[in-house]
């Protein structure tokens, strides 16, 4: 029993890495631009569709397909931010949120028009097919790979934000927009690039799911709710919180799948409720 729960937790860890990639972009875009992007999940969905097309339909190399998908989503994110979202930064919250909700509507239908309403099942590159024994049970190689990628992305994002010149500019504009602007940082450009970076993280997550999950219009909406739960648990605007929150949600959901399948869907809401009671600002959130 113990080993089967441990094994299940490992499986949960791999699905929490997808959650982390989405929540990271969501929380980053909010931290820098101050905009909660409801359509962030749709960018994730778009990443999956792009990578499906590049890999499956155009026969590209798997890695090249992922990179192309990220670039494709980056272009979409640039257009959305530069021409629409940017003008609403000074406006009240409801307008920003409804604008990003409109993006969801548009992207959902655009995907249906472009790829059809049927679910698409892409193939997995041959070198990922197979399992390795973990705790005496077969564990898919790809899931192990995903866990590694998740932690690697955390390290990279942390390095990029903390050590590069661009990252320091982003952090500065996030903490004090006016002061950073007065010091000669081009705030609009930083906002645009940070938004694209956040979208790229979502697209990367979406592209990585293609070998194990199906592409379906509307997946973005379910995913964004999970990402919200993760950011509420971890603290909005906090990358470490997003990682820990994603791991908690993924692992606990996986355990519930094993012991009480009916309550699996409610597990994450229950965790959120507990966090709200004990620590409303989130595990890593600042003082409320």
């Amino acid at each position: 029993m113990v080993s089967s729960i441990l094994f299940q937790m490992l499986g949960g860890l791999s699905s929490s890495m997808f959650l982390w990639l989405i929540a990271a972009g969501l929380t980053l875009a909010f931290g820098v631009c101050g905009v909660l992007n409801l359509a962030h999940g749709s960018l994730y969905m778009l990443g999956a569709y792009f990578s499906f097309t590049f890999y499956q339909s155009l026969g590209m190399n798997f890695w090249l397909a992922i990179v192309s998908a990220i670039i494709g989503v980056g272009i979409v994110a640039f257009l959305l931010e530069r021409f629409l979202l940017r003008h609403l930064y000074p406006e009240p919250l409801p307008f920003q949120l409804i604008l990003t909700f409109a993006f969801i509507l548009i992207l959902n239908n655009a995907v249906q028009l472009g790829w059809g309403t049927m679910l698409l099942v892409p193939a997995m590159p041959s070198y990922f097919v197979g399992t390795v024994p973990v705790l005496g049970r077969p564990f898919p190689i790809y899931n192990l790979f995903i866990i590694g990628v998740g932690f690697a992305v955390f390290a990279i994002v942390w390095l990029v934000l903390g050590k590069t010149w661009w990252g320091k500019q982003v952090t500065a504009s996030a903490s004090d927009r006016e002061m950073a602007g007065a010091l000669g940082i081009n705030i609009p450009t930083i906002f645009t690039t940070a938004f694209i970076f956040a979208a790229a993280l979502a697209a990367f997550g979406g592209a990585l799911t293609t070998p194990v999950r199906v592409c379906l219009p509307g997946t973005g909406e379910g995913v964004i709710v999970q990402a919200f739960v993760v950011t509420v648990i971890g603290g909005l605007g906090n990358l470490k919180g997003a990682l820990i929150g994603a791991i908690i949600v993924g692992v606990v959901s996986a355990i519930f799948t094993l012991v009480a399948p009916f309550f699996e869907l409610f597990a994450m809401y229950a965790i959120m409720a507990v966090v709200l009671l004990i620590r409303p600002q989130g595990i890593f959130g600042g003082a409320a």
């Binding site: 909660l36 609403l88 307008f95 409804i98 909700f101 993006f103 028009l113 909005l236 409610f266």
Partner: protein
């Protein structure tokens, strides 16, 4: 208190609604069954329910400053509760369904409100959305009660009855129309009374300055919770009216699209008393027209919403009031307002 006083003056000015027009419109709604077909009645009922939802959103957003993305939860709870009560009773009565549903919604909104109101800013929007989707998951997975994806079918449009006293047949759509119309008008009137009552003013006070309101001895926390429950009841009423009209119910009603559409209507109309009502009519008709032409309704609707949000930021009523009405007044009465 100056802000409170300002908003009081503001609301008093609002009373200069062209009353004759309003009454003519209500009379029109009452005689509609004489010449309108079933579809017209159905459309008016849907719009009325949508108006109730928009009022629910606006009580939180426009009057108390809370953006809820989860009002669909109470809409769905009201609808499912009403449906289950009507289906479970031996001789169902609409009264029982309605009041039972509202009681359940009140309890549910009290519980959810307790958690959601741990935050009031952007977190509140996120948390209400999440808990709203929890209700969606419940409607989808609790198959033994909600019927899962298939939903509930054969919900009776029960008579409006008190045993041994009287019974009004509600089965024909025309009869049910009057029930919905009268209840909605009462609800809208009550809403008007609420926002002009001391309670309504304390809502607006909280929106404008939380600390000042708490200095007057009002409990900000409890007042917010009360506002959340009242808003939940409006959404629940809309749901409870919806279920017997459709006679079928699927989990789709609790999806967060249902929560978002009234927000769009409120933004279109503007966050005043009449704004959400006007916005609801506009939004619903636009969506209905789009749905008639294409199954890809999200794309045109999304584009329209983008254009509206980018251009019409004060809402239709706000634009009218700021731009058109002062212009008309100065033009026709020769005095500045």
């Amino acid at each position: 208190m100056s802000k409170l006083k300002n908003s009081l003056d503001f609301t008093l000015k609002r009373k200069r609604v062209p009353f004759a027009l309003l009454i003519a419109f209500i009379i029109f709604l009452f005689i509609l069954p004489q010449f309108g077909g079933d579809y017209a009645l159905y459309l008016v009922m849907r719009i009325l329910m949508f108006c109730l939802l928009a009022l629910s959103v606006n009580l939180l957003l426009g009057y108390t400053g809370l953006l809820s993305f989860g009002q669909a939860a109470f809409y769905a709870i009201g609808a499912y509760a009403c449906a289950l009560i009507l289906m479970g009773m031996e001789s169902p009565s609409l009264f029982a369904g309605l009041f039972g549903a509202l009681a359940i919604v009140a309890v549910a909104s009290l519980i959810l409100g307790f958690f959601c109101l741990r935050h009031t800013d952007i977190y509140f929007a996120m948390i209400t959305l999440c808990f709203g989707m929890m209700i969606y998951a419940l409607a989808e997975k609790w198959i033994s009660v909600t019927g899962g994806d298939d939903g509930l079918m054969g919900i009776p449009r029960a008579p409006l009855a008190i045993p041994h006293l009287f019974s009004l047949n509600m089965a024909p759509l025309g009869n049910y129309y009057y029930f919905v119309l009268i209840l909605s008008l009462i609800a809208i009137f009550v809403f008007y009374r609420i926002i002009h009552s001391p309670l309504g003013l304390s809502f607006q006070g909280i929106r404008d300055s939380e600390s000042r309101v708490s200095f007057t001895g009002i409990s900000v926390k409890n007042t917010r919770l009360l506002c959340y429950v009242i808003a939940g009841l409006y959404a629940g009423l809309a749901g409870a009216l919806f279920a017997p009209m459709e006679q079928t119910l699927t989990p789709g009603v609790s999806h967060w699209g249902t929560s978002t559409e009234p927000i769009i209507a409120v933004l279109i109309g503007g966050m005043s008393f009449a704004g959400p009502l006007v916005g609801s009519v506009i939004f619903f008709l636009v969506k209905d027209i789009i749905l008639r032409y294409t199954i890809y309704w999200m794309l045109p609707l999304g584009i329209i919403v983008v254009i509206l949000v980018m251009t019409l930021r004060g809402g239709v009523m706000g634009t009218l009031e700021r731009g058109l009405l002062p212009w008309m007044r100065s033009r026709f009465s020769g005095r500045e307002d």
